[in-house]
């Protein structure tokens, strides 16, 4: 079989579509479903721009075949603040702290950090730097991204308290 029909949940909505088996998940999200928030930089796992959540865990969408997401649940950057609701605290903090400039790396930063802050709600700056060590940003600079993340972590902790 060189193409398959797959069913999966993306950002809470069920989708069914045909995909060539050699298409990776990022191309499926962007090309087949039209969700272009997931970006592609290197397509070999190094830059982190394509990072999405698969059943809640951060993965490289360029290193997973679309067929491998059959029956699974995917969250992309479009799903962080559903239905045009208020921004996710990470997105709000990125806006407020100059956490993005061109925005190319941002979707991957946000998905990676969304998972990270779930596991580590009260991180040190150093831990944040390690968490995004697999996400390359070529223009903003990491200091403001780290500052935004620290602020988002605070906001998330306060919202929970």
């Amino acid at each position: 079989m060189t193409a398959r029909r797959i069913a999966l949940t993306v950002n809470g909505a069920r989708h069914e579509a045909e995909t060539p088996v050699r298409q990776h998940l990022a191309d499926f999200l962007r090309g087949t479903l039209g969700l272009t928030g997931t970006h592609l930089g290197c397509e070999h796992g190094v830059c982190g721009a394509c990072t999405v959540l698969l059943d809640g865990r951060a993965v490289r969408a360029c290193l997973i075949l679309a067929v491998q997401a059959e029956g699974r649940s995917v969250t992309t950057v479009e799903g962080l603040a559903p239905d045009n609701g208020p921004l996710h605290p990470l997105q709000a903090a990125f806006c407020a702290n100059h956490g993005l400039q061109c925005g190319f790396c941002t979707p991957g930063m946000l998905t990676t950090l969304a998972e990270f802050l779930k596991d580590s709600p009260d991180p040190t700056e150093e831990e944040v730097r390690v968490a995004i060590s697999g996400n390359l940003c070529r223009c903003t600079g990491y200091d403001s991204i780290v500052a935004a993340t620290m602020e988002a972590a605070r906001a998330l902790r306060e919202a929970r308290a």
């Binding site: 050699r22 990776h24 070999h44 290193l63 997973i64 067929v67 491998q68």
Partner: protein, 285 residues
């Protein structure tokens, strides 16, 4: 779409996976586990399998258990799962340190331990660990099961004793005694990169002297291996910076590095000394 065309199979049982592989291996059929090495290799067309046998849905392949002194790791245990939660004591603490050096979190959630071993990159941390601790490799095909010892598993640069129709169904790591001290040190230029040199030392200290030393080196030669001459030199001696320097010099003399760069041999000496110092609880040289 970057990979060359292939056909895709998603077996749900081990028996089905083994028979698919028996049928398809002669036509360049390959297992895909985490895909974190194979998918990039296919994108670069360095690998062009005609069939992929995806083992991600095989029931039971995610098993991870301690039994009879061995930590048993199934083919779907991801890098992220192999830490202190898997086994208590010195082995768990060592796994925790080692896994933190492998790529980045979104790759560790997907890549598998057995996939790293089957891939046999000379710089792979799990390969170094398996070689140093004396792991056992349980492999299966329709032809039956066999057990391969660590010193026979790695055959050279990205080469193993696995036949094309065989699946590595379990890695067994010996659980370390509570008296074991471990030290791991790796050098790479950027966080998450493959190591340029990495060393692992495991030893006990009995009445002030080193007992049962194991010293392994990765990323320098075409495969990771124990440094037996240096181990012999360490046994029965009291740890000191001078002793560790001597062990590193001895080890260096016997190395056949992957390139001619003397820098790599200098790095080898440095990581060996740092791994040994960490194991002995001494400050890093």
């Amino acid at each position: 779409m970057k990979p060359a065309p292939f056909r895709y199979h998603a077996p749900r049982t081990e028996a089905e996976a083994l028979s698919l592989l028996a049928e398809l291996a002669p036509e360049e059929g390959r297992v895909i586990a985490g895909g974190q090495s194979l998918v990039p290799a296919m994108a670069l067309r360095v690998a062009r399998p005609s069939h992929l046998v995806d083992i991600n849905n095989v029931a039971g392949f995610d098993r991870l258990a301690v039994e009879d002194g061995w930590l048993r790791v199934g083919p779907l245990v991801r890098h992220a799962a192999l830490g202190e939660g898997a086994v208590p004591g010195p082995l768990g603490r060592l796994l925790e340190v080692v896994r933190g050096q492998i790529a980045h979190l979104p790759i560790r959630t997907r890549g598998t331990v057995c996939g790293s071993l089957a891939n046999a990159d000379p710089a792979s941390e799990w390969c170094l660990l398996a070689a140093t601790l004396g792991a056992r490799f349980h492999v299966r095909s329709l032809r039956g099961e066999r057990v391969i010892e660590a010193d026979a598993f790695f055959g050279g640069f990205m080469t193993t004793a696995l036949a094309p129709d065989e699946i590595l169904v379990e890695l067994r790591l010996p659980v370390l005694s509570d008296a074991a001290h471990t030290g791991f040190h790796e050098f790479s230029r950027r966080a998450g990169d493959f190591a340029q040199a990495a060393a692992l030392a495991v030893l006990e200290l009995r009445e002030g002297v080193i007992a049962a030393p194991r010293l392994g080196l990765g990323a320098v030669e075409d495969r990771p291996r124990r440094l037996l001459e240096a181990e012999a030199l360490l046994a029965g001696r009291a740890p000191s910076e001078a002793l560790f320097r001597e062990a590193a010099t001895t080890a260096r003399a016997g190395l056949v590095p992957v390139d001619e760069d003397p820098y790599r041999l200098d790095l080898a000496e440095t990581v060996i000394r740092r791994a040994l110092s960490a194991a002995a609880g001494m400050p890093a040289p």
